[in-house]
Subunit: 358 residues, 2 copies
């Protein structure tokens, strides 16, 4: 962690603005906060995220943390109001903001966009946490006109918040998030919405697969409508490709007596295997590098801790851990993911300690 050198002005006192303020204030950085909503500024300040902004402030860096559809306009205002400051934002789309700033004739040399990949299920100032960004990617989008010093300032902010900086241009960013974030969101929402008409008895047969594939369908519709609006072209492109694949699969499914249709559908499933292998796991490694061991525990306080104390004593580091649903019995299934060369040791040591392996 490196302390941020200079003072920071935060515009917008929601979850992200408040969290940035809390972290920087903790480090002794002078943080001023402003927002259209006086109430949320008051909350954030009472919460310890900084002080009230004044007209005589001379911030080194301004962080615009307002909803995506207001972001460009506020960035332009801030650039004009503070001609010595660098400005960044935290919106999850980047190219449309840059284009709007150009249209507005804003002095964009001092602007470099950000997209911290962090969030919580709850929003608002009171959900703010100083550690929100710790260990998460912080995407920094320099552009052809931005000053190297502006990029440095944003990089320093991300570093002070203990994020890991990823540098990419705005166009590539938007294309990438259309594929890895916006398309999955839309597909999950569409998949979950199919459940509405179903019998609750049918949904009772749901396994972990349905839970995983639809979890993000619980996201905020208004925020996502803004995100889709700001990245509609890129999302349309990946959605069209997805829809074409879907149509091919659907046609194949229509007559599986034909060998070529069986081959097409098998190909879809097989390409799915290959695609999921491309997603980096924890610390940038692949899913398949871990072995899975499932342990059954009683669903009582302390049982999981006892298991993990044993795993710790055995001296094996967990790469992933997942607690599985047990739809009726009062027991839990714990999935432990560990390095392959530790699998046999873990199994035999856990069995020695009388754990029930599934």
């Amino acid at each position: 962690m490196n302390k941020f050198v200079g003072s920071v002005r935060i515009v917008g006192a929601g979850l992200l603005g408040t969290s940035i303020g809390l972290a920087l204030t903790k480090q002794g950085v002078d943080v001023s906060i402003t927002s259209r909503s006086k109430k949320s500024v008051e909350l954030a300040i009472n919460y310890g995220a900084g002080r009230s902004a004044t007209d005589s402030d001379a911030p080194t860096l301004i962080v615009v943390c307002v909803p995506p559809d207001q972001t460009a306009e506020i960035i332009a205002q801030e650039l004009n109001k503070f001609p010595q400051a660098f400005v960044t934002d935290v919106a999850s789309v980047k190219q449309s903001i840059l284009l709007s700033l150009e249209k507005l004739g804003a002095p964009i040399e001092r602007y470099v966009g950000s997209h911290p990949m962090a969030g919580r299920e709850r929003g608002g100032a009171l959900a703010g946490r100083a550690d929100l960004f710790l260990g998460r990617p912080w995407i920094v989008c320099a552009h052809s006109k931005s000053l190297p010093a502006a990029t440095d300032a944003v990089r320093d902010l991300a570093s002070a918040l203990e994020s890991s900086v990823v540098e990419i241009n705005a166009k590539d960013h938007d294309r990438a998030v259309a594929l890895v974030s916006h398309l999955p969101q839309l597909v999950a929402s569409l998949l979950a919405s199919r459940l509405i008409e179903s019998d609750s008895k049918d949904v009772a047969l749901a396994g972990q697969g349905l839970r995983d594939t639809t979890r993000i369908a619980s996201s905020d519709p208004d925020l996502w409508l803004q995100i889709f609006s700001a990245n509609a072209d890129q999302v349309s492109e990946v959605l069209d490709a997805f829809a074409a694949d879907l149509k091919e699969a659907s046609t194949a499914l229509g007559d599986l007596s034909k060998p070529e249709n069986r081959a097409t559908l098998r190909q879809v499933l097989s390409l799915g295997n290959t695609g999921v292998e491309k997603i980096p796991g924890k610390h940038g490694t692949k899913h398949s590098t871990y072995a899975q061991v499932i342990v059954m525990i009683d669903d009582q306080p302390g049982q999981l801790a006892k298991l993990l104390t044993d795993v710790g004593e055995i001296g094996i580091n967990l790469e992933e851990l997942k607690l599985e649903h047990s739809p009726s019995a009062q027991i839990g299934l714990v999935e432990l993911y560990i390095a392959h060369d530790k699998e046999q040791k873990l199994i035999s040591e856990l069995e020695l300690r009388n754990w029930r392996l599934v």
Copy 2:
């Protein structure tokens, strides 16, 4: 748990057959095993799943555990070979098997189908576990011609394996799993396959959402091709409905300057919220009944155990637990899900014990 009364013959010595054999043998039930593959029978028997089958066996119940596309034929053979025995199977589609048996003129009064909702990432006899079915749903599909005693025998088997029995007819079963299992599988495979052409730099921006929505895309293509083949009509129906929704969303996305298109897209997202709420959580409760508290831990053996020991001492039961990816830093984020009325207590007690809350 109730001990199964009678003897059991298992046909097919893969993951499910071996696991059933292991559990029943442990309880002292006489289990005989047979399979087209002599090698896997040998493995399963050495593993403790039962004894070799003989011509003089008189099983009470026969469990057919072969791939879906061979299931009907083997059930018919077994019904004819053992005219006193009840027969069940474990295939994840049910109606096509029943129809095939009728076509084959099999004595289906003694047949009642099963679908135990249990599995592992690895298959084969050596992946078998006596506790595989514990606490999982075991779907039992009686039909218009089946004897009540046949249903009882299957129910007794599920109960001996500590599964929770769900009774539903074959048609409703297939319609339900098309929606809650087969559609999510196909959509996840299609979503993951879109990643193949992408730059690895793009995929590096992936968050937990992409991981969750594509996890099941790593499933076995050959097994799933059989499942889709056996339930093609029902899957086609839900897939068509999904494709129609997708087309509507895609059209809306094409021009979000129109208010009606924005309304359509917002509706998709909002219906997704409603849909995901319908999925029962652990012990049949809803996701949203839990509060989420995120704690940051060092990524070292014993840290997670220490946290959960503290949670146990505080006396709060975890409803869900998830270990989050931290893409670069050597830290882990632990999501604790607890009852809402325990949230404030957990937060203050954990802070007292110097845990870093995110």
